[in-house]
């Protein structure tokens, strides 16, 4: 087990007594899609050893959050995984609500499921799209970029007012309710945009001999190693381990939906692609069921200790005005204690460990970014393979530097 990290080399002996070549990749390289760096030791085109390096995008999320109020931190969580920001907002709000013992309203739970699943779909689309463009399959990139753009234009922008830095959740609810016509539009996008796009890419790739030979057996990992390395999410499921927190540690209202958890067999780039493709279809299933079941009622809890009072009351009533002022300036009051709350984000388990000493802001927040473990395992996935496979593997494990570096 100990040779998983560090010195293990699968490349074998050097040819022709040649010295290995040291190749630097990144930190600014078109195929890394983020500021990541690798130092690869090569024998010809075979990777003998690989040293990943990161931290170029470190924005001190954890340090900054210690001097902000609970609600202000929501804004920072957008910038973790910026491909699916809504999901990070939900994970954070759930962690703080666990500490406050708030039970959010039924409608809020459904809205959180909806935005999480839309985020999962666009996150997987970006992952597969950029992974394919690195392998030379540009068409798939455009086939997935268009539906993503439509989701931004017709669902996320009308809902949150912005594209990437959404900041839509609040402790105890959401910023506001769904806009008029959103439900119908969401149904329409799922049926007429997401599913056809998935079918198009599926037709282009899933039985494509070039794609399969390029990805099958590339960057594979066994279930045992994946568990030891702390893999979660699609990368773990591709290795054949059916762990999905939506099923295994069900939260919000995921237990009310009928959906399947796809798993792979070999944990290679091809399986990771297949798992993500199926997960998108399952997410559409969840969204459609959630839209059917979507209840009415308030979106926020009826408790002004956590949620801002109604604007009408703030302008007409002194207590509400004071409460509004205190919630904004002092921050909401969260009891002292510590919690760990995990959600199934697009990349895997997104965990928040929060320590509160009471008062308006956190004492400490630690984020468990899902792609941290996958990036850590890059040597294990790539050593002994070709240098060109590094690009294929890197895209398929979906490293997002925003959450990796925080």
């Amino acid at each position: 087990m100990t040779d998983l990290m560090g010195t293990k080399r699968r490349g074998g002996k050097l040819d022709l007594q040649a010295e290995p070549v040291i190749l630097n990749i990144g930190p600014s390289h078109p195929a890394t899609h983020a500021t990541l760096r690798f130092i690869a030791e090569l024998d010809g085109e075979t990777i003998l050893s690989l040293t990943p390096e990161f931290g170029y995008l470190h924005r001190c999320f954890e340090k900054e959050s210690e001097s902000h109020t609970w609600t202000q931190v929501v804004t920072y969580t957008d910038r973790l995984n910026y491909v699916s920001p809504l999901m990070n907002n939900v994970g954070y709000a759930m962690a703080v609500e666990k500490l406050c013992a708030i039970e959010v309203t039924e409608r809020c739970k459904y809205v959180r499921v909806l935005i999480s699943e839309i985020s999962r779909i666009i996150d997987h689309m970006v992952c597969i799209g950029t992974n394919m463009v690195d392998l030379g399959a540009l068409t798939n990139f455009w086939y997935f970029w268009k539906p993503r753009e439509e989701a931004y234009m017709h669902l996320i922008e009308p809902l949150t007012g912005t594209r990437l830095t959404t900041g839509y959740t609040r402790i105890g609810g959401m910023q506001w309710d769904l806009p008029e016509g959103w439900v119908q539009k969401c149904r329409d996008i799922c049926r007429n945009v997401f599913l056809p796009a998935i079918a198009d890419v599926n037709a282009l790739l899933s039985k494509n001999r070039i794609f399969i030979e390029r990805t099958m057996g590339v960057g594979s990992i066994t279930a045992k190693d994946a568990i030891a390395m702390g893999f979660t999410g699609p990368c773990l499921r591709a290795a054949g381990v059916p762990l999905d927190l939506r099923k295994d540690e069900t939260y919000l209202v995921y237990d009310r939906f009928d959906f399947d958890v796809p798993i792979g067999e070999h944990g290679d780039t091809c399986d990771r692609y297949m798992v993500r493709m199926e997960e998108m279809r399952q997410s559409v299933r969840i969204i459609e069921q959630a839209l059917d079941q979507l209840p009415g009622g308030p979106i926020n809890v009826d408790d002004t200790r956590y949620v801002l009072p109604d604007k009408q009351l703030v302008y007409t009533n002194i207590e509400s005005l004071m409460q509004h002022f205190k919630n904004i300036f002092e921050g909401i009051h969260v009891p002292a204690g510590e919690v760990y709350s995990a959600t199934e984000a697009a990349n895997g388990e997104l965990g928040y460990y929060i320590v509160s000493k009471g008062g308006g802001g956190p004492y400490k927040i630690k984020v468990r970014p899902p792609c941290f473990n996958m990036f850590q395992a890059m040597p294990l996935l790539c050593e002994g393979q070709m240098i060109a496979d590094l690009v294929a593997v890197l895209g398929s494990v979906n490293i997002v530097a925003g959450e990796l570096d925080r």
Binding site: G55, G230, R368
Partner: protein, 163 residues
């Protein structure tokens, strides 16, 4: 000695390790055990391998700086058992003068980088770690930025190109 509790994990830990478990609680539904740092590898190996516990996933590891308290630092482990669908939090307190603890990267190889990060951010030293160097900060950075006595607005010169 651990007080009476209803969590099977904590009960089992208390039975097996006795005095090495400083205290336990299940606040906010999270089972938590504070353990003596000397026993951390032994306890973690037991948690991973015991057929009733099977914590095969180490999800998270971090430090916390309780400046002004004695002991000052805390290392926090979050474990998950897929088989039993359970979580547990293990914590260990470290004194400011000697913030060292044994590395658990031999138990869960995935903890390697988490320990590097805790070292980088808090200056906690993990004994027998294969490669304990900075991870998010650059070589030549002075201090440990997540310590509470590290000023938030402090600036350090950025490094030039590597010679």
């Amino acid at each position: 000695m651990a007080e009476e509790n209803n969590s099977p994990v904590l009960r089992k830990l208390a039975e097996k390790f006795g005095d090495a478990i400083v205290s336990t609680h299940s606040g906010f539904g999270d089972d938590t055990a504070v353990v003596r740092r000397e026993k951390i590898v032994e306890i973690c190996t037991f948690l991973r391998d015991d057929p009733d516990l099977r914590f095969e996933f180490a999800m998270d590891l971090t430090g916390v700086d309780y400046l002004g308290e004695v002991p000052r630092f805390e290392v926090v482990y979050h474990l998950y058992s897929m088989e039993k669908k359970r979580r547990v939090r293990i914590k260990s307190r470290l004194h400011e003068e000697d913030p060292t603890i044994d590395s658990v990267s031999s138990v869960w190889p995935g903890m390697n980088w988490y320990e590097r990060e805790a070292f980088d951010m808090y200056g906690i030293v993990f004994r027998d770690h294969p490669n304990l160097v900075r991870i998010l900060m650059y070589e030549g950075f002075v201090g440990h930025p997540l310590r509470k006595d590290y000023p938030k607005a402090k600036r350090q010169p950025t490094v030039g190109p590597v010679e």
